[in-house]
Amino acid sequence: MSELLTPTFILILIFSTIRTATPLIFAALGGLFSERSGVINIALEGLMLAGAFTAAVVTYELNDPYIGFLAGLLAGAALGFVYAVAVIKFEADQVVAGFAISFLMIGLPAVISARIYDSAGSTQQIAKEFLLPDFYNRINVASILAFLLVPVCWYVLYKTPFGLRLRAVGENPAAADAAGVSVIRLRYMAVIISGILAAAGGAYLSIGQSSLFTRAMTAGRGYIALAALILAKWKPVPVLFACLFFGFTEALSIQLQGVIKMPSGEDIPVQFIQMIPYLLTIIVLAGFIGLSRAPKALGIPYRKES
């Protein structure tokens, strides 16, 4: 084990953690806005996929990752709006509707890419020079954006009138309403922001970390981001650390592949390595959920008393 703790290995692990945490940070910050306004966001997974798919297609077609990235955000906003209409206007069960959005994004990208690229499984490979660039071959520009967004979100949430209203709507919508805040409008905005941020995480996956979109490529990251949000008690700065923690476990599992051996001297089977982030999510959730308090109005549709 001691030969693992070389400076190179630790450095690789740190950069790898930053990479794997990036999509989680985007998505969890997205979930933060939605859930602090009182709307559960199981749809994060689908919103990420919308961003990932759109960014991959637009980047491939236009050879510009920044336009592709923005297009991904737009797709996230649009899908976030659809989700918002379902749960705010029609008061659909938020967990069920969120799942439907995520499920939709398994099928819809496949239908579209089957039509335009004749391949339902994935989009076309993007050339390396048209991907979101890495600085010094190590840190992706999107990772920097994700880290910068943490203080920005903190500022918006705690230091602006918008943030104050948002939190009020999530804790006590009736009181916020009485104070003249439009609960419905604020929730729409929060869910759409949520869609944009989650989509940014997805776009990073397809045009930053990878170079194409593959079916269901988020592999549960939307749900892991949700677990990170709960672990972080719905607060922006702890969200960063929670995501770094989950990112670290994923990075560790990747880096350990083929490095550490079982007592018998054989490689640890890949299946067990793959399980680590999922297993840890369950354990962390069970261990910490009691300590964290959800926004009071989370999951409850708001209907004005008349």
Binding site: L104, G107, A219, A227, Q271, M275, Y278, L285
Partner: protein, 359 residues
């Protein structure tokens, strides 16, 4: 109970989904009427077609029931997929170990079993094992919810990934013939096989994989109905789903009901293994499920979480699933994933129209 209203809103949701789906088809550049004809027009033309449609409906009835039982207790079980994978592997394992499975390894006959039980013991044993395995995999998120309050949706999704990885590990390292390029276990012993319906119906080709598991699925619908509406436990479970705090106040243990509901739900999902492993493939096959665990959510919602509705909804989705392949072949641009899109839209619409049904 207003039957008209019970049926009306699901129908509206389906129609609306087809309208939206039709628009997508138009945007893609195909004729929606041709696509929809291919989707629904190939399911009941012959005994062969009917057999296949009901064969696909079988796992959907099980997973639909599984999701519905959890729903009635106020829980969303997205973990049916993982539960049925674990159950299918365990069913195959029992079928191999207790079924006298003899395996051809590079021309050499090897006995991989411990004992060779007769069918009359072996089949029930396989069934019990698969139900127990599914129930166990469902009980975990139930326990986690009851004990720690952690959300069952996140936990069931995580357990899907874990379950699939776990059985894939056992398959790859212990129950696969070395060198077999396909990730599948060896075949179960012949005594573990259950009869196919084609044996009883003259004119149905014997390659149609519809088995007696379908009849079991119908039986389970009846039993779930009796459980939910005619027993004290079922009453308490529904009370928790209607209003957990009121149920708690009324002396019902919410925690016990949550664990029980998830256990039953997992067991029902596990029954998918019966038709798939004992009645069709005769082995565990990695990736055998066509998203049935997730489809169960659509089936339960469309079927209004009622066993009778679930049978109808399962057959409806089976029709779409059967049509999938014809859409792929017979239309120019639309791929079979359109069915996934339709399912998702139906779920979204049913959920969105829910508030109108309560008036």
């Amino acid at each position: 109970m207003n039957i008209f209203r019970e049926v009306l809103w699901p129908l509206v949701a389906v129609l609306a989904a087809f309208v939206v789906g039709g628009l997508i088809v138009v945007l893609i550049g195909d004729n929606p009427f041709v696509v929809f004809y291919q989707l629904v027009g190939n399911s009941f033309g012959s005994l062969n077609d009917i057999g296949y449609t009901l064969f696909i409906a079988t796992p959907l009835i099980f997973t639909g029931l599984a999701v519905a039982v959890a729903f009635r207790c106020g829980l969303l079980n997205i973990g049916a997929e993982g539960q049925l994978y674990v159950a299918a592997f365990v069913a195959a394992w029992v079928g191999i170990k207790f079924g006298g499975a003899v395996v051809d390894v590079f021309g050499k006959q090897e006995d991989w079993s411990w004992v060779s039980l007769p069918a009359v013991v072996l089949v029930p044993l396989c069934i019990i094992a698969s139900v127990a395995a599914g129930a166990f995999w469902g009980a975990i998120p139930g326990y986690l919810k009851a004990r720690f309050g952690s959300h069952e949706v996140i936990n069931t999704i995580m357990l899907n990934f874990i379950g699939v990885a776990l059985v894939s590990y056992f398959t790859q390292y212990y129950y696969k013939v070395a060198g077999d390029p396909i990730m599948q276990t060896v075949e179960i012993g012949p005594a573990a096989r259950i009869p196919r319906i084609s044996q009883f119906i003259p004119g149905m080709p014997d390659f149609v994989p519809l088995s007696v598991a379908f009849l079991l699925a119908l039986l389970m619908c009846f039993l779930v109905y009796v459980f939910l509406w005619k027993t004290k436990w079922g009453y308490e479970m529904r009370a928790v789903g209607e209003n957990a705090s009121a149920a708690e106040y009324g002396g019902i243990s919410v925690k016990k009901q949550i664990i029980l509901a998830m256990t039953i739900s997992g067991g029902l999902a596990g029954m998918v293994a019966i038709g798939e492993v004992l009645g069709y493939r005769y082995r565990y096959y990695d990736g055998f499920s066509d998203g049935w665990g997730f489809l169960g959510i659509a089936v339960a919602l469309l079927g209004r979480n009622h066993p009778l509705g679930i049978i109808i909804a399962a057959i409806f989705f089976a029709v779409l699933k059967r049509g999938e392949i014809f859409v792929d072949i017979e239309t120019r641009y639309v791929s079979k994933d359109l069915v996934v899109v339709l399912q998702a839209i139906i779920i979204l619409f049913v959920a969105s129209l829910q508030k109108y049904t309560r008036r």
